[in-house]
């Protein structure tokens, strides 16, 4: 990710860039501060046509509490267009869904959907079709939902794969987009996909490639497994292949959702009322609930007067207590920067766990030699780091693939070579000369000089670690959606595979503990340092019954 402008630069008169926030299909986004101290987001729009610019200009005066405000559209000295927008300090809905792979609590999903529906309906009422609705474009700030990137959509076509990829919305693309038909029904379709994803954590149409997903949009029936029964009809209608059979308006869809799962009507706040404490809906909350665990559904500020409540007041029914969902945890994000920070944090903690884990081994084996202890520590740390690096963004259940296994095995190969090197063996070297002793030297592939006694050892080390790394699903230890933060199962698996593959281990050179202990310590360290999101607490019985 490379930004054009750096911290402190002033690409636009009156604004100083503080840092780059992201790069999307439309250009670069910066966090900036105006000369008078106003924090804004600057979006550099490159390669946009005049027609698209006019579309953006049409959105300048839109005002809605659930829309990210656009302050201005400016042009810099190079002729580049800049969009000055409200800076939303919060995470995207995509990040929240990412942390809840089994879906959000139903009442929260409905609450958020209603907010989303209000924003989209407002856009439609003003003649704007968003065309790129997706969780990544929806932001949550202090429990309030805001839709961004409206008015920015470029023309998307099936033939223009690069454009589609940069926009990144194939999962939310209505079938009629292939024919260039951009009406508000495509937003309704995208909202249907999002409702599905909010409720189940999964997309209705998924596939290995963009083409496969697009084909499913055109032909397949959405997978409604896991969708609570009252919502199935709503989603089915929203995802109809024929736009004419979908909901005619966003308001209609919101009403259908409200009918499927009635919520307490939002009472508009009196003007000038103090936000938060006085505005919270008086729903029963668990007595021992910590402050930060207050349900988001309850915390959505009602101080903002809701101009157009979409759903008619539903009959008063007690709202089930919302399941706590933290929406402002910056630690597990989906942006590259957040992922990098998380990964680095894990890698920095790993040496501490390894060091602590080695102490019992030193005590039991009465090892005091520096080289031996150091070797054990370094190989264990290398194993832990390799696990962390190879795991990437793997999920607990559905990340098993040849590519991932080969990635692990390759890193295992490197670890094996590292262990070989640390033990003081003379490794291969490029050598064009011939030594005097043919029994003491070998040549791999004709030019790689290897001392003969090292040949079986280097292969043994490399193959041992490569096979152990490729044999098991180690990425599960680092998956943030794993069932438990720490389990004894991976260390046992490490011992098992270590023993099974022990025929590869160079027994004559070292003891078995150098083959097993690094793996065990690595599995312990990885679990200990990897971010973990606990599964949502079980729903109350009443709610569980409703969602069946």
């Amino acid at each position: 990710m490379r930004f054009t402008y750096r911290t402190g630069e002033r690409p636009l008169a009156g604004y100083t860039v503080k840092r780059g926030v992201g790069i999307g299909g439309f250009g670069e986004v910066y966090f900036a501060v105006s000369d008078s101290g106003k924090e804004v987001a600057l979006k550099l729009l490159r390669g946009s046509s005049d027609v698209e610019m006019r579309g953006v200009a049409n959105c300048l005066n839109l005002k809605h509490p659930n829309l990210v405000h656009i302050y201005d559209l400016k042009e810099d000295s190079h002729g580049d267009k800049w969009l000055v927008m409200e800076y939303v300090l919060g995470e995207s809905m995509a990040q929240v869904i990412d942390r809840h792979p089994d879906g959000l609590p139903v009442n929260l999903a409905v609450e958020w959907f209603q907010n989303l529906a209000r924003a989209v309906a407002y856009l439609h009422d003003h003649g704007v079709v968003h065309r790129d609705l997706k969780p990544a474009n929806i932001f949550l700030e202090h429990g309030s939902l805001k839709v961004g990137d409206y008015g920015l959509c470029k023309a998307m076509s099936l033939t223009n794969k690069a454009q589609t990829r940069t926009v990144g919305t194939v999962h939310f693309m209505a079938p009629e987009i292939s024919s260039g038909n951009y009406t508000k029904s495509i937003d309704i379709y995208a909202c249907g996909v999002m409702l599905h994803e909010m409720l189940t954590g999964k997309l209705p149409f998924d596939g290995e490639s963009d083409g496969e997903i697009l084909m499913k949009h055109l032909t397949a029936t959405p997978d409604l497994a896991g969708v609570p029964e009252p919502f199935q009809a709503v989603i089915l209608k929203a995802l109809d292949k024929n736009p004419l059979k979908r909901y005619a308006t966003m308001t209609e869809m919101a009403k259908a959702v409200d009918a499927a799962y009635p919520t307490q009507p939002v009472v508009p706040a009196p003007p000038m009322a103090k936000p938060h404490q006085s505005e919270r809906t008086e729903t029963p909350t668990p007595a021992a609930k910590p402050t930060e665990a207050i349900a988001v559904a309850v915390e959505i500020p009602k101080a903002v007067p809701v101009a157009q409540p979409i759903a008619p007041p539903a009959p008063a029914k007690p709202i089930p207590v919302a399941v706590p969902v933290r929406t402002e945890t910056p630690s597990v994000g989906s942006s590259f920067r957040d992922r990098l920070t998380d990964r680095l944090g894990s890698m920095l903690q790993a040496p501490v766990v390894v060091a602590v884990g080695i102490i019992p081994w030193m005590a039991v084996t009465r090892t005091g030699e520096w080289a031996t202890i150091g070797r054990m520590a370094l190989v264990s740390l290398a194993v832990a780091w390799a696990f962390l690096l190879a795991a990437g963004r793997a999920r607990f259940k559905k990340s098993d693939s040849w590519a991932r296994r080969l990635r692990f095995a390759s890193l295992g190969l490197v670890i094996g070579l590292f262990a070989f090197w640390l033990e003081g063996w003379v490794g291969p070297s490029l050598d064009s000369g011939y030594e005097e002793s043919p029994t003491a030297n070998s040549y791999l592939f004709g030019f790689l000089h290897v001392p003969a006694r090292s040949v079986p050892v280097v292969w043994s080390y490399a193959l041992y670690f490569a096979c152990v790394f490729g044999a098991a699903r180690w990425w599960r230890m680092a998956a943030k959606d794993r069932k438990e933060r720490f389990s004894l199962f991976p260390p046992f698996v490490a011992v098992f595979w270590g023993l099974v593959l022990s025929f590869l281990w160079p027994w004559h050179a070292s003891t078995i503990e150098f083959g097993l202990l690094p793996l065990v310590l690595g599995t312990i360290a990885v679990q200990w340092v990897s971010p973990w999101v606990p599964p949502p607490p079980p729903m109350p019985k009443k709610l569980r019954w409703r969602t069946r």
């Binding site: 840092r19 920095l348 003081g424 030594e435 043919p438 006694r453 040949v455 292969w459 044999a471």
Partner: protein, 216 residues
């Protein structure tokens, strides 16, 4: 039906076995070429049979008859002197190995593990005694002579120690580098970019400082 995962695991194991079996094919000894020029005498490494390495195998390094640099009145002092001379010789020798080893073995370890055979005391001859006495020094002195031998395993252990030290140095620099990036990212997030430049400078200085400290 065989589960997909089982197929993958079995595939990897099969690959491992095939690769392991191929190692013998790859390691082809080349015929010896005539020695181009007289090289410094480097002891030939032993044959690759690991079981034979400990017993009955010529040592990897042999430094015979190393004598203390000067006569000493006590045997212990002469032995220490001889060990120091031996260490200097050994370091020179290790430095010429391929790849070289830059190790400085401890005298205690040399005395207990590397000295082979008996420690021989060499007394001065009558002429030497006269000469020593003429210089006003106690003529009751002696030299000590030792033989130093290192097996292939002991040389490997020295190499391992050196590599572990190097790896720790490299690891410390890498750790500092990662910590600096992590700190920079975290602090930059907290300060919302207001101090990016200063934080970047501080991170760079921190990494440079650690690198200097480790490499110095």
């Amino acid at each position: 039906m065989v589960p997909n995962r089982t197929v993958r695991v079995m595939g990897l194991l099969a690959l491992a076995c095939v690769a392991f079996g191929l190692t013998g094919c790859h390691a082809k000894p080349r015929p010896a070429k005539p020695k181009p020029a007289a090289k410094e005498q480097v002891p030939a490494p032993p044959v690759n049979d690991a079981a034979d390495r400990s017993v009955g195998v010529p040592p990897a390094v042999r430094l015979p008859a190393i004598r203390s640099s000067q006569p000493h009145t006590s045997r212990e002092a002469a032995l220490t002197d001889a060990l120091m001379v031996a260490r200097t010789e050994l370091m020179k020798h290790l430095d010429q190995l391929d790849p070289p080893i830059h190790a400085r073995p401890w005298l205690v370890k040399m005395k207990s593990e590397y000295v082979k055979g008996e420690v021989r005391e060499i007394l001065p001859t009558d002429d030497e005694k006269t000469l020593i006495k003429a210089n006003g020094v106690n003529p009751n002195v002696r030299w000590v002579e030792i033989d130093l031998e290192l097996t292939e395993d002991q040389v490997q252990q020295l190499r391992s120690t050196e590599r572990v030290t190097d790896a720790f140095r490299g690891g410390a620099i890498l750790f500092a580098f990662l910590a600096a990036i992590y700190g920079f990212l975290r602090l930059d997030q907290w300060t919302k970019g207001y101090l990016t430049l200063w934080l970047g400078l501080a991170a760079g200085l921190a990494v440079g400082g650690v690198a200097l400290l480790v490499l110095a």
